[in-house]
Amino acid sequence: MASAYDMYQEQILDHYKRPRNKGVLEPASHHAKESNPLCGDEISLYLVVDGADRIADVRFDGQGCAISQASASMLTVTVKGKAIREAKALDKEAVLAALGIPLSAVRTKCALLSWHVLRKALGASTKDT
């Protein structure tokens, strides 16, 4: 059972069922939205960046599969309180490692959707590195 359902570990289901920082932040200093047309996953990200270039508050909104929504929730927890510089330095490998689950190529896209939105909101490149 454990190996069969690796993708839906406790942590993922917990963030999916009880998302952290979910909702709309207004006014937000940074905002971006992306969708994955393949499956209809949608993530909006709202950031409030303070005078010290620190992410004082963050919310995400959207709909989609457990993987996309849980990873968005986890990402908000990760970046909250971080300097913009640190948030920009967060690479996709780190995001995937934090999820800690095996993902196929298709589901990796679900997992990285919120990371792409974060990059977009911060005006950073989302090109593969």
Binding site: A4, Y5, Y8, L13, C39, D41, E42, G64, A66, I67
Partner: protein, 415 residues
């Protein structure tokens, strides 16, 4: 020809013809419920394609030598089988393409874009079309200034044919409709719709990708002008599709591809085209694909399309009942299996379709999740995605039961 549906399909014996069912997926027997996307292939079809490459590979129509004649004979033989399968008047009404998509694009380009459409002319589609029967008409609209209109869909998944009272007018030049929806399964009254089109002098284009593989289709009784379908959804190889067209309509259609095979004579600066259907088959065709499709047609004819249809109605009815009895499962489309194809779309209260598909995958069950290349229809039902199980000749009631057991596991995970 058509044989009585007295005996339903012998699935265990059919399954033995499909080598893929010998393998395991994630240590589980393969439960393949995605035939609306592509069907599996029987050994007969696989052997026929490899036989072509291994024994008589040569280009068709031009070679003088024996191999070339064999290849041409088999390729043209496949055209005859396809013609007979859909009751065309002549094999010359069968054009080989690479897919339903190419067939529909050929019509949009050769009859629409390069044809006699004028600004202000109207094309009438429906909300339940696959993207491949939307986008080619967008091209035509963008280049010719024609107007696109769409018949709607009821909440229960029925095509609102009453919309045609308003939609079809003297300005209508093309009416296009899917024979069977790839999401809802709805079977549309294409005979009636063709009649409506003809009353105003329009042509009717039928997307039969989800019907020809699954039920008896008679192009003469439908009376449509064009009908498109794919080989790979009907036990045949990928990369081979069919465009049926009435002879006179094909004559009036311009080719999509210029090159070898499709010409009668070429001079510097000018060329004369070959006869129908060859003028549409520029370049070396998918010979192995066509031959494989011919064998797939033999296979289906042998089973009997009435029996195939009856089998799928039975499976679909069983699936609608079993899935409908599950808590939190919502079904889309008509409740009466006799009015729909073997396609069952559903959503679950707590689990996204992608998560449903991922968990079923662990159980060796293949289903589709997403928008099924029918975004306008998904928007109509305000759904980002659905899960979809679809059936074919190698599926049985046990497959449906395995699906239901899998969905119970999904419920457990997301409880």
């Amino acid at each position: 020809m058509a044989r009585a549906a007295r005996i339903l399909l012998n699935v265990p014996s059919i399954k033995k013809d499909f080598p893929i069912f010998e393998r395991k997926v994630r240590d589980k027997p393969l439960t393949y419920l995605d035939s609306a996307a592509t069907s599996q292939k029987p050994r007969q079809v696989i052997d026929a394609t490899s036989d072509f490459y291994g024994r008589y590979n040569a280009n068709v129509h031009r070679a003088i030598y024996e191999l070339g004649e064999e290849a041409t004979r088999e390729y043209e033989g496949a055209r005859e089988k396809v013609a007979e399968f859909i009751h065309a008047r002549s094999p010359n009404e069968i054009v080989f393409t690479k897919s339903t998509t190419e067939s529909l694009n050929l019509v949009a380009y050769g009859w629409g874009l390069k044809g006699r459409l004028r600004e202000g002319d109207e094309i009438v589609g429906t909300v339940m079309e696959h993207h491949s029967n939307h986008v080619p008409w967008h091209f035509v609209r963008d280049h010719k200034g024609v107007v696109l209109k769409y018949a709607g869909v009821d909440d229960d998944g029925r095509l609102r044919t009453e919309d045609y009272d308003e939609l079809i007018t003297k300005r209508t030049k093309i009416v296009t409709v899917t024979h069977a929806s790839n999401v809802l399964g709805t079977i549309n009254p294409v005979e009636e719709i063709t009649k409506r089109a003809h009353e105003v002098g329009a042509i009717c284009v039928v997307d039969a990708a989800q019907s020809v593989p699954h039920m008896p289709v008679d192009v003469q009784s439908i009376d449509c002008d064009f009908l498109a379908f794919s080989g790979h959804k009907m036990l045949g190889p990928t990369g081979i599709g069919v465009l049926y067209g009435k002879s006179d309509v094909l004559e009036a259609t311009e080719p999509l591809l210029g090159g070898g095979e499709m010409i009668r004579e070429v001079h510097l600066g000018s060329s004369k085209w070959n006869d129908v259907p060859y003028k549409f088959e520029g370049g070396t065709p998918n010979i192995a694909g066509a031959i494989g499709l011919g064998v797939a047609v033999d296979y289906l004819t042998n089973l009997g399309m009435d029996a195939v249809r009856a089998h799928e109605v039975e499976l679909t009815q069983h699936a609608l009942e079993r899935l409908g009895a599950l808590d939190g499962v919502r079904l889309y489309g008509l409740g009466d299996a006799s009015r729909r194809g073997g396609v069952v779309s559903f959503t679950m209260d707590r689990a996204h379709p992608h998560d449903i598909a991922s968990i079923l995958d662990v159980e060796g069950i293949c289903i589709r999740s997403g928008h099924h290349c029918a975004q306008p229809l998904m928007e109509r039902f305000q759904l980002p995605a659905t899960a979809r199980a679809s059936f074919y000749v190698y599926n049985d009631v046990e497959d449906v039961d395995r699906l239901v057991a899998g969905l119970k596991k999904v419920q457990d995970v997301f409880a």
